[in-house]
């Protein structure tokens, strides 16, 4: 039998506002513990939350970018549970009336494109950070004590829940990359997994290909990179197929991945059934996003990266993979489009940008596309070293392509002639051999002249001059 993986994602993204979600402590990363805290984010008695207007706008903006409907009315709920990193004993989150719902994200693929349904995108506050120390290898169990740092506590967090519309590990990876790119391009998040500003959980189940049933799913937690997640998903898919094929049943459970031991089997846990006792947050009033605000934000949404990939395929005749790589960042995609519109052949521009240019590590956003186009156009007639040097310098302020192509080269016959004559005079034996028919020696003379000019001569001019003199 053939099996189809059914994958859904739940993604948490930090918004990079200046202040926290419900207090006006400044957001900062990597500071000493508890240096960005106040009575509100420490959950002191009597404190009340005040929502961050920018976080609300950005959530709406993200919702629009994900094709969501923006609610006429949204409310915050309290999600009640106890943990040392949760200072109030509840998280302020959204529950059955979120800001954004019913969206979709286009995920172009090599063969088929996927359209992934977005169930909801809602706004909440992040928990603080527990550090478990003194126990076995810092693992949660067996730790000697727990240290709590509330600096991160209260960071605005958007939670995005997808429908289980992804059908391969690779598609899931691609979705995550596109989503990450979307939020980065909206300018609302760094979405860096290493900093914890992008985190996600994956729900995985499998079903016989062609059926539309939803079987028991497992939840994969603790993923620390997209590639790692893709491998984890694949392994879990294979495991579930194995169980079904052996006549077994998959159990609903949570699998925690240990980022340091990728090959070890995931830690299983059957957590105590949670009862979060959600209820409307009585310290806050409802949100009713004004229509003008939503329309203004809609106008600010840039072209989504998924749509851009598809446009690159059709507009420039690129292969999917090339279109995907060129859209790895909005700056690269924009550079590509400007280089092409400066007259460079679409295929050539794509090759150079993905290979030689990419290897230089130059920030695409810093490059003057018109100058770069000149370099690419000249790639066939200038020495390779010089070409690469030009690419490497293309991000420098005031970068001037001419320095590498035109003005720097000796092309004037009058300047080159004495040089050529000197070379011919110094190599009488070779001149005789050439004239006797050893035409292959031409390259030797060219090389000699080029050496004399320190590589600064136009090879075509040198060739022509030599031929005229030798054939005279």
């Amino acid at each position: 039998m053939s099996w189809q993986p059914v994958i859904g994602l739940e993604i948490h993204i930090h918004l990079k506002t200046r202040t926290k979600m419900f207090c006006r402590c400044e957001l900062a990363y990597g500071l000493d513990a508890n240096t960005r805290t106040c009575p509100i984010c420490l959950g002191h008695p009597g404190t009340l939350p005040v929502p961050n207007a920018r976080a609300i706008e950005w959530t709406i903006k993200l919702g629009l970018a994900l094709g969501c409907e923006i609610a006429d009315r949204a409310i915050f709920h309290r999600k009640n549970y106890f943990y040392p990193d949760l200072p109030k004993g509840y998280q302020i989150s959204q529950y059955d009336e979120p800001l954004c719902r019913h969206g979709r994200l286009l995920v172009p693929g090599p063969e088929v494109d996927a359209e992934v349904g977005i169930v909801r995108a809602h706004l909440e506050e992040d928990a603080a950070k527990n550090v478990h120390v003194g126990g076995a290898a810092g693992r949660i169990h067996g730790a000697g004590r727990t240290l709590v740092d509330f600096n991160r506590g209260g960071t605005p967090l958007v939670e995005i829940v997808t429908r289980p519309d992804l059908h391969s590990a690779d598609e899931a990876r691609r979705f995550l990359q596109l989503l990450r790119q979307t939020v980065v391009e909206l300018g609302i998040s760094d979405a860096e997994m290493e900093k914890g500003s992008l985190r996600f959980d994956v729900n995985v189940s499998v079903r016989p290909a062609g059926s539309d049933e939803l079987r028991t799913r497992t939840e994969l937690k603790n993923m620390n990179s997209f590639a790692f997640a893709a491998r984890g998903i694949q392994r879990e898919v294979d495991r579930q197929i194995g169980i079904y094929e052996a006549g077994g049943e998959v159990e609903q459970e949570t699998l925690h991945f240990d980022p340091d031991h990728e090959l070890a089997p995931p830690l299983r846990s059957k957590e105590e059934a949670q009862d979060y006792r959600y209820f409307p947050e009585p310290d806050l009033v409802p949100l009713a996003p004004p229509r003008q605000l939503v329309e203004r934000l809609r106008k600010e949404i840039p072209e989504p990266p998924g749509a851009r990939i598809r446009r690159f395929e059709s507009q420039y005749g690129l292969r999917f993979y090339d279109a995907e790589v060129l859209n790895g960042s909005v700056a690269l995609a924009e550079l590509y489009e400007r280089v092409v519109s400066a007259g460079v052949d679409a295929k050539a521009a794509s090759n150079v940008l993905m290979n030689e240019f990419a290897r230089t590590g130059v920030e695409p956003g810093a490059v003057d596309a018109v100058e770069l186009a000149k370099v690419i156009e000249a790639r066939a007639r200038i020495p390779r070293d010089r070409f690469n040097e030009a690419l490497a310098g293309s991000g420098d302020p005031g970068f001037d392509a001419e320095r590498y192509l035109g003005d720097g080269l000796v092309v004037e016959t009058s300047e080159l002639e004495p040089l050529v004559e000197r070379v011919l005079a110094a190599n009488e034996k070779e001149v005789a051999a050439y004239r006797a028919g050893k035409r292959g020696l031409l390259g030797f003379f060219v090389g000699q002249v080029m050496r004399e000019t320190g590589g600064n001569a136009d090879a075509r001019v040198v060739n022509e001059l030599l031929r005229t003199k030798l054939d005279a």
């Binding site: 002191h44 009597g46 929502p51 040392p84 209820f279 009585p282 310290d283």
Partner: protein, 474 residues
């Protein structure tokens, strides 16, 4: 000699204004009175010995956070907690140059109607020390009644200003929900909690309300007053439409002496020119208490989750993990009433019960609002007793939580509707004060002050507790 038993805040302010008295002398006079009488009453949990401003002193219920001054909300779980910030009402009092006399005793986390649930021992009623002062703002009401503060701030969730004001023979205002900031008020039930003044006169109440009311950017559930606070002057009630809701006036358990005093006050309103007629609030009274005892505990169960021994307050040591520490700390730190309400609230919100309990109670709340809205189409003010009974004896209701809950049966319905309520003393029954409750429409505090003031003048209630009338001055 300053007679703190009789001096009103308005009079004290005038003395300061005319420099017949210094703020330090005034503050000291109240501290002397506290030394003389608070050993018996225990209205204060702690006093502030040096005045920190040059205005009339004020006492604050101990759930109002004061920077640098211990604030416990009457709970052992917060013993030793010193807030790093001021509640907005405290800031406003400071801005009005009121000095802080101290923090008054209260039922733990404002849960109770007798101040017997304080984690630090009960407060006693200045009219009869064998009786309770009411609660949960019992300390504030007793302090004002016994001349230990010219005025005080209390908080009212289900009746915690109005009921103790009634039982102690003073005036208490529970303002319209949203007119006074809750920022810095140790939360009990967020959608019901309101801070309000307790004083000897209606005018004093209005003066203190003027100081604390208004929108606060730190509390998103506050609004600006639609009209400024007016000090009441008129002594007639002509043109005023007064409703007397039958259910609030004939509820089971109202003592005959209470009914008698309230009826006299209603009659007086008529004599002052008011147009008085009977009306109904059928479901508000019948279902109010049940509704309240689902909503308030549900919110409380969540509001009290932060007391976990991690960042402040009590921590009980165990040899176990975080969870064991939480469970022991909360076991040791909370008294019985918070425990009961936390469990009741957690139950009402838990999976499978939410719709039937909390969800249903929220819908009942809608009905109660509608019933009140409808009445205020026809009336400007509603009258009823504040409490079904006069002050009861200490210990009388502590064994039976439900009997205690009934103390607030008459104050709860309008609180659920978010409406303002004023309690003024309207006479004595068995030698103990009876409170008259005046309920107004949203933001109609000025109407309440006007009616309250006119009735107060006509009633001429002697607000000094009879047993303190001789030799009250210290």
């Amino acid at each position: 000699m300053i007679d703190t038993l009789r001096l009103t805040a308005e009079e004290a302010a005038a003395l300061l204004e005319r420099r017949e008295l210094s703020a330090a002398e005034l503050h000291a006079a109240y501290l002397d009175a506290i030394r003389a009488r608070d050993g018996e009453l225990h209205a204060y949990l702690r006093t502030v010995d040096e005045p920190d401003a040059d205005g009339v002193p004020v006492a604050l219920k101990d759930l109002i956070c004061t920077r640098g001054v211990e604030t416990t909300a009457g709970s052992r779980i917060l013993a030793g907690y010193v807030p790093p910030y001021d509640a907005t009402v405290a800031t406003r009092c400071r801005a009005a140059r009121l000095s802080f006399l101290g923090k008054t005793n209260m039922d733990e986390f404002a849960m109770g109607s007798s101040t017997e649930n304080s984690g630090f021992g009960p407060t006693r009623n200045p009219w009869d020390p064998d009786r309770v002062p009411g609660g949960s703002s019992g300390g504030s009401a007793a302090a004002v009644a016994a001349g230990l503060a010219p005025w005080a701030l209390g908080s009212d969730t289900g009746g915690s200003i109005k009921q103790p004001a009634a039982l102690c023979g003073v005036v208490g205002l529970r303002p319209t929900y949203g007119t006074v900031s809750r920022y810095g008020i140790v939360a009990f039930a967020s959608s019901l909690d309101q801070i309000g003044p307790i004083a000897k006169t209606v005018r004093d109440c209005a003066l203190l309300y003027r100081i604390i009311a208004g929108r606060d950017p730190c509390d998103t559930t506050t609004v600006d007053l639609p009209e400024s606070v007016e000090l009441p002057e008129t002594e007639h009630l002509r043109g005023l439409r007064v409703g007397v809701p039958r259910e609030l006036n004939e509820a089971e358990g109202i003592e005959p002496g209470v009914t008698e005093a309230v009826n006299r006050a209603v009659e007086l309103a008529r004599e002052l020119g008011a147009d008085v007629s009977e009306c109904e609030l059928p479901r508000s009274v019948e279902y109010g208490l049940s509704c309240y005892y689902l909503i308030a505990p549900a919110e409380a169960s969540s509001n009290l989750a932060r007391y976990d021994g991690v960042r402040y307050g009590l921590r009980s040591e165990t040899n176990g993990d975080t969870r064991a520490m939480y469970e022991r700390t909360r076991h040791d730190g909370f008294g019985d009433e918070p425990k009961r309400r936390i469990m009741l609230g957690a139950y009402a919100l838990s999976a499978g019960y939410y719709e039937a309990f909390y969800g249903q109670a929220q819908k009942v709340r809608t009905l109660i609002r509608r019933e009140h809205d409808a009445l205020f189409e026809r009336f400007d003010v509603l009258l009823s007793p504040t409490s079904p009974t006069v002050a009861f004896r200490l210990g009388e209701r502590t064994e039976n939580p439900l009997a205690m809950y009934l103390s607030d049966v008459l104050t709860i319905p309008s609180n659920l509707a978010g409406l303002p309520g004023l309690s003024i003393p309207c006479g004595l029954s068995e030698g103990l004060p009876v409170g008259l409750q005046l309920i107004g429409r949203q933001f109609a505090e000025n109407a309440l002050f006007r009616v309250g003031h006119a009735l107060e003048r006509a009633l001429a209630f002697g607000y000094v507790p009879s047993r303190l009338r001789d030799g009250g001055a210290v």
